[in-house]
């Protein structure tokens, strides 16, 4: 099915199942430990062996030699496979650094060997016995230094310009020119990367933890240099990804090589420090924002520049993109510059671009609003735009940022907000802050197969993944709505490369794209049923487990017949995303307390108002948003990968050192969804929400801290040492 004209009324609009607060259908499996994650697959008849990875102890250079003799002789060891033996491998399309193979070391903890043994403990002990002789090269690890030699990236749209920014900025009566920094961040998902590889001749079966089944399968085939059709990949349950599992990782390769060498099925999980230094992370940014405004708050000039770094061949963190669309203003420019850094690979983490971009932009808006002397909500309303500011002929498909801000202000109790540093309760300095949320709505082709069996049960198969988001549930809701059955009559199977290729999970495109694919397959199935019954498919109604045409009504089970019926299709997208700007919007409100003596910040209240099209399931959508708000709290207050700039690695490479929020950090969180649909987005009229919930949160917290203390911090995370010098005297 091709979606190229705005959606009209369709069966989804009945909202008997879609849009209902249905608890996740896989919830019981998860709460009872029966949802099997990658490393947990276990067949008592299979003699699994265990692989333990060895990572490079230098950041840049090459391996001169490796002595594995002691490891090979260690108890229980079945095989040792080294990068030198394997040699240089072809690289997958989505990887920047090589995952394994060859002499060259491109970053710290790049995989250089896997030791396979009878037990996990034996493999780990033997891995510690490998001696490596390196020739170390000098690397570049400090963005502040490397930004001097940063260049314009060769791909994407690094620069944009409309009007005369310099002239308008110079002429503006109120101006802001500030720099902001965001640190490297780790996905830090609960489940580390893990794979089990089983060879049967030249066929490989891999259980793994992947957000994108088909990308992994293709890149695994490329890297192993085998036919894609010979790989069967399964990833039915995923313990979080946040972008860290979008692309093939070393665990899959090491399991495959280890299994081949040991001639046994092999399990490999990346140890926690490897999640930080072996895989990808969100790159740090240095951002400069200039805004010129009239005395009434109208923006006349806006510029956003960003510097980030990556390994050679990598890309920039696209931190300026939202600034091209979020606020009006006739004179504007953005620019991204990319430095070479020899740190582990920088890549997508939840809301890449917008998350760090809004961390800076939404502080800048708070600052310019204060300079103009108007409320920051009013400032944002004054500068709202219903068209793409760079191409005014291009309208937003649906944009209700103003509605989010107004409703949020009323619910949060924004009026009566004091001057910075004016409110105190005991030892606590109290402040509130607001920020806009913005994230583009992306769509990707997505396929599904839907079966109807002789019992009237509907089964959906797609290689879509559920990374904890609720994909199983919204897909079941979609199929139930389309086929006119209750949700208990729907089974959903995900994350298997034998199923039709879907959008996968990432970029908040998963929910809308994948359910649209299921919609398309259900349309096919409905047509098949109508055709079989000799009904005109246009006028057939599917409801209450029956198919009805005029005054004839037949149970679905009967219609399916003994052999059942199947519908399969892929949703493809026309140019509605080009003719219209499709984005999601929101507003974050935060109240913080800052300890007047120590500078510790503790969040007291959080509210998010989201405008993201139709909400397919308010329960799972809310989970997405509160999880994202929590991630934003970490970004604001504690999350930072600390770089050892001498040795080129992230030092705090575990969950004790890299501080994501704990329960005690998170207060009451309220989420409100605007009641809206976006017919330009898909037949579902939905958009993504999982990343929107993160966008702007950290800036709202930063702005609240400023309101509490009068100290403006522009460098994340906002730890107490950055506040302590500016706090008022205690007594």
């Amino acid at each position: 099915m091709q979606f190229d004209t705005p959606a009209t009324t369709n069966p989804i609009d009945n909202l008997k199942v879609v849009g209902q607060p249905i608890p996740r259908i896989d919830g019981q499996l998860k709460t009872t430990g029966r949802a099997m994650y990658a490393y947990e697959w276990h067949d008592p008849k299979v003699p699994y062996a265990y692989g333990y990875p060895v990572g490079a102890a230098i950041a840049k250079g090459r391996i001169k030699s490796m002595d594995v003799s002691a490891a090979k002789k260690a108890p229980g060891v079945l095989a040792v496979v080294t990068a030198l033996e394997v040699g240089k491998l072809k690289k997958g399309k989505y990887n920047t650094a090589n995952l394994f193979g060859g002499q060259e070391i491109q970053h710290y903890h790049q995989a250089i060997a896997v030791v396979v043994a009878e037990t996990f403990e034996q493999a780990r002990a033997a891995a510690a016995l490998i001696n490596v002789d390196y020739a170390e090269d000098k690397g570049s690890f400090d963005l502040k230094v490397a930004m001097e030699t940063a260049v314009k990236p060769e791909t994407g749209e690094p620069d944009s310009a409309v009007g005369d920014f310099d002239g308008a900025f110079k002429a503006a009566p109120v101006v802001l020119d500030q720099s902001y920094t965001t640190p490297d961040q780790s996905h830090s998902m609960m489940e580390p990367h893990a794979s089990i590889a089983v060879w049967d001749g030249d066929k490989l079966t891999l259980w793994t933890s992947s957000q994108m089944i088909d990308w992994w399968r293709s890149d695994l085939a490329t890297t192993l240099d085998i036919d894609k059709e010979k790989i069967h990949l399964m990833s039915p349950f995923i313990g979080g990804g946040f972008g860290g599992k979008l692309f093939l990782r070393a665990d899959a390769l090491l399991a495959a090589f280890g299994a081949k060498a040991a001639k046994r099925p092999v399990k490999v999980a990346l140890p926690r420090p490897f999640v930080v230094n072996n895989t990808t992370h969100r790159p740090a940014t240095i951002q400069r924002i200039r805004i010129g405004a009239e005395r009434d708050g109208k923006i006349t000039a806006i510029a956003h520049e960003s510097w980030s770094g990556d390994l050679p061949g990598g890309g920039p963190e696209t931190a300026v993109m939202q600034t091209r669309l979020l606020y009006g203003g006739e004179n504007r420019m953005t620019a991204m510059r990319l430095a070479t850094l020899d740190l582990p690979e920088g890549n997508a983490m939840r809301a890449p671009g917008e998350a760090p971009g809004l961390m800076a932009l939404e502080i800048a808006i708070d600052e310019i609003a204060e300079k103009v002397g108007i409320d920051p909500i009013q400032f944002r309303i004054v500068n709202d735009t219903q068209v793409d500011p760079e191409k005014p002929e291009r309208r937003f498909s649906h944009r209700d940022l103003v509605g989010c801000l107004k409703l949020g202000a009323a619910r949060f109790g924004w009026t009566g907000r004091g001057r910075p540093g004016s409110k105190r309760e005991g030892d606590w300095l109290i402040g509130t802050g607001v920020a806009a949320a913005f994230r583009n709505n992306l769509v990707l082709p997505s396929g599904a197969r839907v079966r109807l069996d002789s019992e009237g049960v509907v089964t959906v198969e797609t290689d879509m993944t559920d990374i904890g988001t609720g994909s199983y549930t919204i897909i079941a809701q979609t199929a139930a709505e389309m086929m006119g059955v209750t949700i208990d009559k729907v089974g959903v199977h995900l994350g298997d490369s034998r199923f039709p290729v879907s959008a996968g999970s990432g970029g908040q495109f998963g929910a809308n794209s994948a359910t649209s694919g299921v919609y398309a397959a259900c349309v096919k199935l409905r047509e098949g049923i109508a055709q079989k019954l000799g009904f005109n498919s246009e006028d057939v109604v599917f409801e209450n487990g029956t198919v009805r045409f005029g005054n004839r009504s037949i149970a679905l089970a009967e219609a399916a017949g003994p052999d059942g019926l199947v519908g399969e299709d892929t949703m493809k997208w026309g140019d509605l995303t080009k003719t219209h700007q499709q984005s999601t919007f929101g507003a974050h409100f935060v109240e913080v307390g800052v300890d007047a003596a120590t500078g510790e910040t503790r969040i007291r209240r959080m509210l998010a108002v989201c405008a993201a099209g139709r909400i397919l399931n308010p329960v799972t959508a809310r989970s997405q948003v509160i999880g994202a708000m929590t991630m934003g709290a970490g970004a604001a207050l504690s999350e930072e990968l600390a770089i050892d700039t001498r040795r080129g690695f992230f030092v705090n490479h575990d969950l004790a050192g890299y501080e994501v929020p704990v329960h005690a950090d998170i207060p009451h969180q309220e989420v409100i969804f605007m009641d809206e649909t976006d017919p330009m987005s898909s037949p579902m009229k939905a958009k993504g929400v999982g990343e929107l919930g993160l966008c702007g949160v950290a800036a709202a917290i930063a702005n609240a801290i400023y309101n509490a203390t009068g100290v403006r911090v522009r460098h994340y995370p906002i730890t107490l040492d950055k506040l302590i010098g500016g706090l008022p005297d205690i007594a």
Binding site: R124, A125, T598, I643, H653, A664
Partner: protein, 321 residues
């Protein structure tokens, strides 16, 4: 992790005998730190003697002192009624540490003997004088946000991570030991060492000496005490700085007696004797507290990432509430 023998001891003498008989024997309490270190091959014992079956008694004695068995779980000690009533700083210190799950496993003896959480100490690829004496220290010029500002040396800037020990230091706790040469006692403040040139030697314990009990001497004014831990996140984080303090105020509003100990600032729980001396007999005012804290920190030396500690450290929550 290297292969090792696992043995259980039902009394202290037996434990000492079993550990002494091994080439590289170690006592195992809750395992919340030792097992991590074994996984990273930082610790490589050939024998573990499980001492969690030793005394789990908390005995409140008529003279106001309390005797605590070394195998008492952290959770049990924090929840003990006598401790909560008479030594609230100890209960609060324990509850400020780690997580509920870890406190359920960790023992009093093990908590005292836990090793630093300096990331370079855990990382085999880094230089560390604790792990490899003489090899150098990557923390001094590296990532050192959680490192020492007091009593450090050019060899080591690591801190002792325990919260419980900070309270014990303030309380003048006495550690009871049993070793191959018999039993003896040490004050907790004398148990841990400053790093000097041998940061790998962390305590004054003799080979195979085992902590059997911890004694809290009676201290009437400990009922007016607290523990304040400063950290980036609200739970499950080591202290940037922490303070255990107890205050005895006279009717004239002057400080009759005071105990202060600091955590997260040194290689050992730091008893702030200078500060205590500066406060005794003085009016309990914010100004005096601040001056006393600044005096205690007159020798403090900051590193790249932790110099902020000095600015407002230990700005004390020991004012009466």
């Amino acid at each position: 992790m290297n292969p090792f023998d696992y043995l259980q001891a039902d009394n202290a003498s037996n434990a000492v005998k079993l550990a002494s008989a091994a080439a590289a024997g170690k006592y195992l309490g809750g395992g919340t730190n030792l097992v991590d270190l074994m996984r990273e091959t930082v610790e490589r014992p050939d024998t573990l003697v499980d001492v969690t079956d030793l005394s789990r008694r908390i005995e409140a004695r008529p003279d106001g002192s309390v005797m605590i068995g070394a195998a008492v779980k952290n959770t049990a000690l924090a929840a003990d009624r006598t401790v909560r009533r008479n030594f609230p700083l100890l209960s609060r210190a324990i509850l400020a540490g780690a997580s509920g799950q870890i406190r359920n496993m960790a023992t009093v003896g093990g908590n005292i003997l836990q090793r630093t959480r300096c990331t370079y100490f855990y990382d085999e690829a880094s230089r560390c004088n604790k792990r490899d004496p003489g090899r150098g220290c990557d923390a001094i010029d590296g990532f050192n946000r959680y490192h020492a500002i007091l009593g450090a040396s050019p060899s080591c800037v690591a801190t002792h991570p325990s919260d419980m020990c900070v309270a014990l230091a303030a309380l003048d706790a006495i550690v009871h030991l049993e070793g191959p040469e018999g039993v003896r006692m040490l004050k907790l403040v004398d148990l841990h060492r400053l790093p000097g040139g041998r940061p790998d030697i962390e305590t004054e314990l003799r080979p195979h000496e085992l902590i059997t009990d911890v004694e809290l001497p009676a201290l009437s004014f400990a009922a007016r005490s607290t523990y304040r831990k400063v950290r980036d996140r609200a739970s499950y984080a080591f202290a940037l700085v922490s303070v255990a303090a107890a205050l005895d105020l006279g009717d004239d509003g002057n400080v009759k007696d005071v105990r202060v100990a600091l955590g997260g600032v040194a290689h050992k729980p730091w008893r702030a004797l200078k500060m205590e001396a500066a406060l005794r007999g003085r009016a309990a005012t914010e100004v005096n507290f601040r001056a006393a804290a600044e005096g205690e920190l007159s020798d403090a030396a900051g590193l790249r990432d932790n110099a902020f500690n000095r600015t407002r450290q230990a700005d004390d929550r020991c004012r009466p509430r």
